[in-house]
Subunit: 223 residues, 2 copies
């Protein structure tokens, strides 16, 4: 899987994944570079060879996650016309990605404001683009439906993200509820709520089903 990734990238990935776990566990602010060095088994000097600062680590985690989840979505959604199918792919892509990267998901949620200046702006722009993709799909569904009373698109978009992102508080990917079942349940709940009627038969096996690796760190080189 990682054969085409250089040793440098592999090491950086190991550092980023470990840093995400520690940030998720004890928060960004109360984690030191020394904590990360200790947990990764890399010397402090070695750690600074891979990143200049703790802030850069947080940036790389956030930037990479939003980049990867969107990139993966765009690949899967290419050529799909039906907005319901697009939405199902969106939910499947988001949940399967973050169920495999729960520590990163928590860091994205809790540490959104921990970056400042340009780094913050860069990540915020990526996040916004991603959210706009969801909103666009929801608008397409509304336009296709002749629904008298529509749910506000802003509320609907954030309600969808809330339903999905909250999973880091309760969902255990190794438990008895499989990710594919979680996706089906959330899709059914959201879609029939959104269109105000029973959900259409919702593509039980979405095209381009997300069977490729969803590990944020290992499916692609970081640089």
């Amino acid at each position: 899987m990682t054969s085409n990734i250089s040793r440098y990238d592999q090491k950086l990935e190991h550092i980023l994944r470990t840093a995400a776990q520690i940030f998720a566990e004890k928060s960004y602010h109360s984690t030191s570079m020394r904590d990360i060095a200790r947990a990764t088994g890399v010397s402090l000097a070695g750690l600074y060879h891979y990143c200049k600062s703790k802030e850069e680590l947080l940036f790389l985690i956030q930037d990479h996650c939003f980049g990867r989840v969107r990139e993966r979505l765009e690949e899967r959604i290419k050529g799909v016309e039906d907005p319901f199918e697009k939405l199902h792919i969106f939910i499947d892509n988001h949940l399967s990605f973050f169920a495999a990267n729960m520590a990163e998901m928590k860091v994205l949620s809790h540490e959104a404001e921990s970056l400042a200046g340009d780094l913050h702006q860069h990540v915020a722009t990526k996040k916004e683009k991603y959210a706009k993709l969801a909103r666009k799909i929801l608008r397409e569904i509304q336009e296709q439906q002749a629904v008298a009373t529509r749910v506000d698109l802003t509320v609907a978009t954030y309600a969808l993200f809330g339903m999905m992102n909250w999973i880091y508080n309760w969902y255990d990917p190794s438990g008895k509820l499989k990710v594919s079942q979680l996706v089906d349940q959330i899709t059914r709940l959201f879609v029939s709520g959104f269109v105000g009627g029973p959900s259409r038969n919702l593509i039980p096996n979405a095209r381009n089903s997300g069977k490729q690796s969803v590990n944020v760190w290992t499916s692609k080189s970081i640089n």
Copy 2:
């Protein structure tokens, strides 16, 4: 409003509200008692007169919020039979309470794991009781409906909390979308999704509408 609250309680409320704002802004771990003393205008020695530790402050905030939101719910729901009406009251109660206490909401979400031992257990038990109330209402709705494919109750309960609790990331209570409109939108989205069909005419003016104070700190004495 606070005429029956002692000066001691008023001061403690001021400290707790300020502490919640600072925790929400820069996280519990990176806040010091000195920061809280400075922001409240109370001396450090004075601050320790009201609470023994930063941990006790966090405990009081969490314990009080879960206590108040549930107490308020139980008052409003008393004597209501229809589970749809109960659910509407539940959503209205939760959203109006936390829209008025967004800093506290963020602290409940982000710092759930920052307490340890008995304090953590005490709050976790209160939180669980509150979540069970939501789950019970959802079960009543399912029992009343003859729906072939039911959404899993655990997924539905956490999806509902996710939709509601996510508001601290995007919702501005002083913006153009009023809390009552937010409640209606979230109720409509969730209910028709949950029953898999158009939502019933959902009590536009819920009985016992939450017109009483929703400020977590000032409607009641803390002790």
